[in-house]
C-alpha cells in the first residue's frame, strides 16, 4: 500500500498502531495505579 513494500508498510503503520494500543492499555490499567503498588509491596 501507498507504494511501499509490505515490510515498510508494517513499519510505518504497525508501530504507531502498537503505541496506540499501548496507550489505551495504559489508560485502562493506570486507573488503579496505587492498588497495584499495594499488592506489589505486600507480595515482596
Amino acid at each position: 500500500m501507498f507504494g511501499l513494500p509490505l515490510e515498510t508498510t508494517l513499519l510505518v503503520f504497525g508501530f504507531p498502531l502498537f503505541w496506540v494500543l499501548y496507550l489505551i492499555g495504559f489508560l485502562v490499567v493506570s486507573r488503579g495505579w496505587d492498588k497495584d503498588t499495594t499488592k506489589e509491596d505486600d507480595a515482596s
Partner: protein, 524 residues
Amino acid sequence: MSGTVILFLVLYYVVVLGIGYWALRRGAGKDLEGYLLGGRQVGPITTALTMQSTAMSGYMFLGAGGLGFAQGYWALWYAAGDIGGGLLNLSVIGRRMRKLSQMMGALTAIEYLEKRYPSPAIRLVAGTLTIFLLGFYVLAQLIAGGKGMALVTGISYPLALAIAVGIILIYTFMGGYLAVAYTDFFQSLVMLVGVMWIMIAALSELGGFTAANVAIGELDPTLLSVWGRGLGFEGQWGVVAGALLIFSVGYMGWPHVVTRHMAMSSPATARRAGFWATIWSLFFVPAPYLVGIFAILILPGLDDPEMAIFQVAEQLLPAAVTGLVMAAIMAAIMSTADSLLLQTGSIASRDIYERFINPRASERQMVMVSRGLVLAVALVGYAIALVEPPTVFSIVIFATSVLGSAFLPAYVCAVWWKKANTPGALASMIVGASVAFIWQYAGLVETTQMHPMLTGVMSSTITMIVVSLATQKISPVPRHVLDAMNVSAAVGPIPARYLDATEFGLANEAAAIANGLEEGGQNG
C-alpha cells in the same frame, strides 16, 4: 536566503523578546511556583506542548531529516521507538519514581540516584558520566545552530557557529526572559504549524504520499525497504533492536526526561499529559524523517543530508513562513542548548564541586564553577564543531546509547526491585557506559551487527542483577530506603477515583503524620 525570510526571522525574535520582556516586567509573585502550598496545575495540553518543545531540537531538524535522506525508510526504525518513548517511561517508572524521589527529598536526578543507592561513588560516577555526555549533546545543538544560522544568513559557517555559541552563552549566563512559559508555548505553536506546513507542502509538491513513494522506488527501490540504502542493514536485527531501544528506553539516561517524572503532581495529571504527549508524538515524530525521505526527490543535489529539512522549507514555503519557522527552529535549538548547559553547570557545581570538593561552597562559588564548566563545554564544543563536525545524528545516537545503557537499570530497578543495591547500580552504570562506548569506538557494530545501545543495555542489566544478588549480604539495601519504597502501605477500601487524585507532593507530610498519630502525637 531572501530578504523576506530574514525580515520575518527578525520579526519572530522581536515578538518573542517582547513577550518575554512583558512577562518579566509583570508583578513578581506571578512568576514563581509554590510547591508546598501552591499545587498549581498547568493544563495538560500546555504541559504536553511544553514537554514536546524541549524534544524539538537539533536532532529532530537535522539528525532525523538527514537520516531519512541518507537511508530512506530505514530511518523509521528510530521513529518507531521514539513515538512511544515518553509513554513507555511514564508508564513503567513515572509514578513510582515521583513517589520515591519525594520521600527521599531528592532535588535532582543525580541526587536521587545517590539517595536510592547510598554511596558517594554513585554520585561521582553518575555526575561525571552525565556531564561528559551532555557535553556531546550540546555539541550536537551547536552544530545544528551554526549550520542553521549559516544557511539562513548566508554568512560563513565558522562565523555563524561563533555567533550561535555566543548567543547561547549569553542566554545561559544571563537568562531571564526567554525562559517564560509563554514563549515556550508560542514557540511550540510556531514549530507545530511549521512542521505541518513543510510536510503538507512536500506531499503536495510530490503529488501525494503514494506518488512520492513510487517516485522514490523508481530512483532506488532499496530506499523503500526497511534495510536502508543498498539494503546495507539487511538482516541486522541487532542494529534494528538498538534503533528501537534508543529513543524508547534510551531516554532514561537523560536528566531532563527523568526530572520530568520527579515533577509530576498526581497520577491524573501524568496520565493526561502522557496521553497528549503520545498523540503529539504520533504525528510529529515521524514527520522529520519523512520530510528527509521526500527531500530525496525535492533536493536531489543536496550535499549535506542534515540540511534537508531546512532546505525543503526554503524551497517550498512562502518566504515569510520560512522566516518564522526557521526562527522558531533556531530558538528551539538554542533553548535546548541552554537547558543542557544549565544542567551540566548544575551537576558540576552541586553534584561534583559542592559534594566532593568544597562542601561549604557559597552560592557564588557554585555559580563560578557552573559558569566555568559551561564555558569550557561551549569552547570545546566550538572547536570540535569547527574542525571536524560529526553529524548531529551520530552524536545524539552515541550520547543516548551510552547514557541509556548506563542508567536504564539504575532508574528502573530503583523503583521496581528492592534488591537493587549500591554495588549493583555502580557496576551496572560503569559496565553499561563502557560497553556502549567501546562498541561504538572499536567499530564492533559492523562486525557483530549489534547496536551499541543493545549491547550496552544488555550488559548493564545483567551486571545490575548479578552484582546486586552477589553482594546482598555485604551491602544490603538500607532500611530507610526500603521504607521509602514501601510508603504506600495498605490503605483499605479506597476507590480508584480517589487514588487518582493523590497529590504526590504531600507524601512526606502523610508519612510524618501517620507516624505522629501512631506515636500519640502532641496534644495541645
